[in-house]
């Protein structure tokens, strides 16, 4: 069930498919966008809750 899909770091980065196309740029862009969006949202809410809680205290 668990088999490494890639053998080296450059393969992981490029994610070359059998048709010769490199799909790494697409996959990694999505990974970056998703993680930045989630992280930014958490930071936004944590900061705002802290700010408003300080005011209320």
């Amino acid at each position: 069930m668990f088999n490494n899909a890639f053998n080296s770091l450059s393969e992981v980065f490029l994610m070359q498919s059998q048709n010769g196309q490199n799909h790494g740029i697409f996959v990694w862009s999505v990974v970056v966008i998703v993680f930045i969006s989630i992280l930014a949202t958490f930071i936004f809410y944590k900061k705002n809750i802290k700010k408003i809680s300080k005011k209320l205290k």
Binding site: M1, F2, N3, N4, A5, F6, V12, M15, Q16, S17, Q18, N19, Q21, H23, G24, F26, V27, S29, V30, V31, I33, V34, S37, I38, T41, F42, Y45, K46, N48, I49, I52, S53, K55, L56, K57
Partner: protein, 228 residues
Amino acid sequence: MYQVSRAYPYIFYFSLTLYLLSIFWGLFLTPEDFVQGNSYRIIYLHVPASFISQSLYMAMAIASAIFLIWKVKLSVYLVRSIAPIGAITTFIALVSGSIWGLPTWGTWWVWDARIVSTLILFIMYLGLISLHDSFSNHEKADKFLSVLVLVGSVNIPIIKMSVEWWSTLHQPASITISDKPAIDLIMLYPLFGSIIGFTGIVTCLVILSSKLQILKRERNKSWIKSYV
């Protein structure tokens, strides 16, 4: 709300771990797809976001109905709290879908029924937020928001069924309740993991957003100091 706040760290760490492990499994330990090559790995990020963006709207619709029928104030706070999170998850679904479309379809955008109905969902989320915030009278804003959410919920079955009703470039659902999944089990397990993990992470965001909403709306009440 106190119990929810106490459960928050458990939900957060469990979901984050599950999500990261599933993404790792999907990105590095599943085989390449025969047709789409390695670009199919975007599924582990796109599908959870897409699923959650629609589920959040349904949650908003249920909370709106509760507010309109039983006048439960907390439910309309929940509606307003979910809206920005829904907008973010829909944004992720749209952007990841566009990026996935480039190697798969040869274009990042087509005016396809599934994509357009998802774009409408994103615009609806933004519209609901700005409309609610444009009112100075909170009671009127809450009622207006709830009614509009219920009216807009008609878009959810359209998004869901768009790939069946119209001839679309977007592929039909790979997982359905009635049929055998169109995706191999080796690829399916991490997909389930990422959906459950992402649902937990988004639940944590909704908890934070609701907390902020309560603090903003109830700031003049005496009990709020004990809540802070």
